[in-house]
Assembly symmetry: C2
Homo-oligomer: 494 residues x 2
């Protein structure tokens, strides 16, 4: 029903995308914001149908899908607001000085779109990180045209979203080429897209293997292009004994929910919990293990994900370096196996395979001998999207070295909470050092994600009336601009 | 006298750099600014000595070196000011909402340093893009430690600058490990640096071959790291007949100076001039050719650069697709050969080797049949640092399609000027699409270059007194921050 798009159609899609970029790159902030809002409206209008379709394709529960659907609409409308506000343009104007020797020129800079962007839909977010998801919204806000490769796990859902985007484009009087939609179950389609000379940037959410392969392809091009791949992580939670002892039940409930929500299929799922041996940690492990043993197995996103989860879980158990603290194996093939495992600090430090993500409701508790070993465990970690500290404020202050180690390894540091639940807001950073992403200098969530698909561009001594509206003396859009080093909304010469 | 640094010393330098990063990353904006100003003072104190040394090592004239030296001091002090002002931190704070379901967290984001940075000194800027140059200043402002590989063309000059930096570090009470200096005439040293696992980012100014090789190495790592390589370009100047006819002499004088200043050894040297056949262009070519024929040959930076210039010039002449319009071959080995060549639009479009940079005082005038062919020539160009339009405002408005083609291919668009003379100011963009640089999303000149070496990081629900000063409610530093989507200098709760 959704066969892989073939090379001639991929070439046609990129030709259309490139042609549409010719005009769309010069669309006003208002036009782009209006388009994003129109996409949200068109999606909202087919809400019941698209949610039902996604339910059928992904095994995700209706309630979970509804939350994600609303989040997707919120992303579109809040990025529209940020796009229109224009702070993301990073406008800088330095005025000339003809008296200086040599004369100082008039220089004006803003961000401009990089060109056609390829976005890969994610399997675990059929709305928020797929066809009409965050990457698409950011690229359209930046002024880029977009080619989405639908995730093969939910092609019909993706098609409904693509149709909504095309209705929105038509309603806004914009060319259909601004958005193109292709299908591909094989890696070949993704490869052809990333290697296509007219593609200027790539957005990806998915596995480490997939993200790294696309990064390598993009780097191998005659003209290398940036790849922002968000590849997940184990999101370690470090627990200090004072807080854990005082609020064991709270910690157990928080972690149990975070590990099992949406069948553990979040890139911010806490796959690693690190504590210091003692009664508080023992109670915690026992209670959390019991919670997971009581958690009903559920169908996973698709059979490939369930198979991968079960294989990796079986392999780590067979490795003999962990002990099960609570699990529920009553589900059949295609179902999750909620699992809490535990190991020693020594084992964790000696066996790097224990550091790897097992995508699904699995978490490993590392029992350290003392704070020094806990710091060593933190030091041994690779880059993460998030790290979390569960501690009293006094404990956090006492263990500031640990805090610094955690900070160096992540993009977001959570205090007394859980890593799941990525708030869509400007201050959010959903990114982090490799291998959490392929470029720690950008975020995948929040309106700052627009910058992934833009580049600075400056005009020197350009006549005012030929400049983009955003850079003209009068500042007709009332934007924040840095003029001669100072932020202001005033026009020049006022 | 300056033998290649060997692997054990490189490892020691990176170990010291990593250790120093442990504390330097948390230095205050004031401390970093104070360090940059101290480096400027220490350099200024050895001004006569370092300029004389550079004169001996580079063949650059004293006047040219003095300008570059002052520029280097200005970079250090102006980036210090920008560092302290703190706008580059991109601070965003979104306040919590405990009433919302689920509760909205407190999220606060700012840029933090990426880690130890390797900087490669440039051959053509012994001060401004070498040991104490722009990349070093940006990385130190970002809070990164720096390892510089001195350019083998001017090691003694570099050593003097490195000593000055170490005196500044000592004076500021900062560890010597913040700055490390190594030597390498062979590519092996650069390779070992870029592949070193503790290096987190690379800054490079130099040839396309060198920059691409470093980019490929960095992408091949287990943990890929970003490389900002500024690799030069031909900086095409497009001239429309109205303006050219009205101000031929002005255009000739501007271009002649831009092509020959500093023996043409600038990455913004205009290596390509594009006009439309007619009397104005004929007069321009004749007069500019005469100017170049009258320009005295001068010694180039070093023998390798002179050899490369002469070989490439000879090859393009031997290719038979160009005609010489003015040249001065009276200089001996090691000297430049000022050269103006000319070709037809057809030839330029049919022979891509004519598009390549010949680093030195060489420029090629393309004589197009008409505006359509001029647009085709623009379309055929690769990414550039700059493009320039010489036109009346009315001509620019008439040829807006040409302007758009030029914009898509560069980082800076100059009107009725020349590309040389890169103003050091916040609004400057010294970057551009590949192959001008390896990452068009950043600039090498201006304080925004600090962002190359920083990444966003956010705190979620972190206690106010444990946050960095920059993010605390009271805003004790009085920084511009985006709070709940609005830019403000106010503290929170005021």
């Amino acid at each position: 029903m959704f066969p892989d798009t073939q090379l001639p159609e991929i070439n046609a899609a990129l030709a259309a995308s490139t042609a549409a970029f010719g005009s769309y790159q010069f669309s006003s902030l208002q036009q782009r914001a209006s388009l994003l809002r129109a996409i949200a409206r068109e999606l909202d209008a087919i809400g019941p149908q698209i949610i039902e379709t996604a339910q059928g394709e992904t095994n995700l529960q209706r309630g979970r899908l509804l939350v994600e659907f609303r989040r997707t609409l919120f992303q579109l409308t809040s990025y529209a607001d940020a796009c229109e506000q224009g702070n993301w343009l990073d406008i800088r104007i330095d005025q000339p000085d003809s008296e200086r020797q040599p004369p100082k020129p008039d220089v004006r800079k803003m961000l401009v779109p990089v060109g056609p962007v390829v976005v890969f839909g994610a399997s675990n977010f059929p709305f928020a990180y797929s066809t009409a998801g965050g990457d698409t919204a950011c690229a359209l806000a930046a002024g880029c045209t977009v080619v989405v490769k639908a995730h093969p796990g939910h092609p019909a859902t993706s098609q409904l979203a693509a149709d909504a985007i095309h209705r929105a484009l038509a309603g806004e009087g914009l060319p259909a080429g601004v958005f193109q939609h292709v299908y591909g179950a094989s890696f070949e389609v993704g490869k052809q897209l990333v290697l296509h000379p007219q593609v200027k940037s790539v957005g990806f959410t998915g596995s480490f293997q997939g993200g790294r392969a696309l990064f390598d392809l993009a780097a191998s091009r005659k003209e290398p292009i940036p790849v922002f791949a968000e590849m997940g992580s184990v999101n370690p939670v470090f627990m200090l004994p004072g807080k854990l002892g005082a609020e064991t039940e709270w910690a157990v409930n928080q972690l149990a929910a975070s590990i099992t929500t949406s069948v553990g299929q979040f890139c911010t799922n806490p796959g690693l919990v690190v504590g210091i041996q003692g009664p508080a940690l023992e109670n915690f492990i026992q209670a959390l293990g019991q919670k997971l043993a009581e958690t009903e197995p559920e169908p996973m996103l698709h059979s490939g994900i369930a198979q991968s989860f079960r294989q990796k879980r079986a392999a780590v158990i067979a490795g003999g370096k962990i002990t099960l603290a609570g699990t529920n194996e009553t589900g059949g093939e295609g179902f999750s196996i909620p699992t809490l495992a535990t190991t020693s600090g020594e084992n964790f430090l000696a066996h790097p395979h224990l550091h790897e993500e097992i995508f699904g409701p699995y978490s490993l508790v590392v029992q350290c001998n003392d704070a020094a070993q806990m710091a060593a465990v933190a030091q041994a970690l690779e880059g993460q999207l998030t790290t979390t500290l569960i501690a009293t404020p006094a404990e956090a202050a006492e263990h500031i070295e640990l805090v610094h180690i955690l900070q160096a390894r992540c993009g977001r540091l959570v205090f007394n909470g859980v890593p799941t639940g990525v708030e869509v807001c400007l201050a959010m950073n959903h990114g982090g050092p490799y291998p959490a992403t392929t470029d720690s200098r950008f975020t995948a969530v929040g309106a700052d994600g627009i910058r992934r698909f833009a580049r600075p561009f400056c005009y020197q001594n350009w006549p005012d009336h030929l400049l983009p509206t955003e850079l003209q003396n009068a500042n007709p859009l009332g934007l924040w601009r840095t003029v001669n080093g100072e932020l202001t909304k005033s026009g020049i010469g006022e």
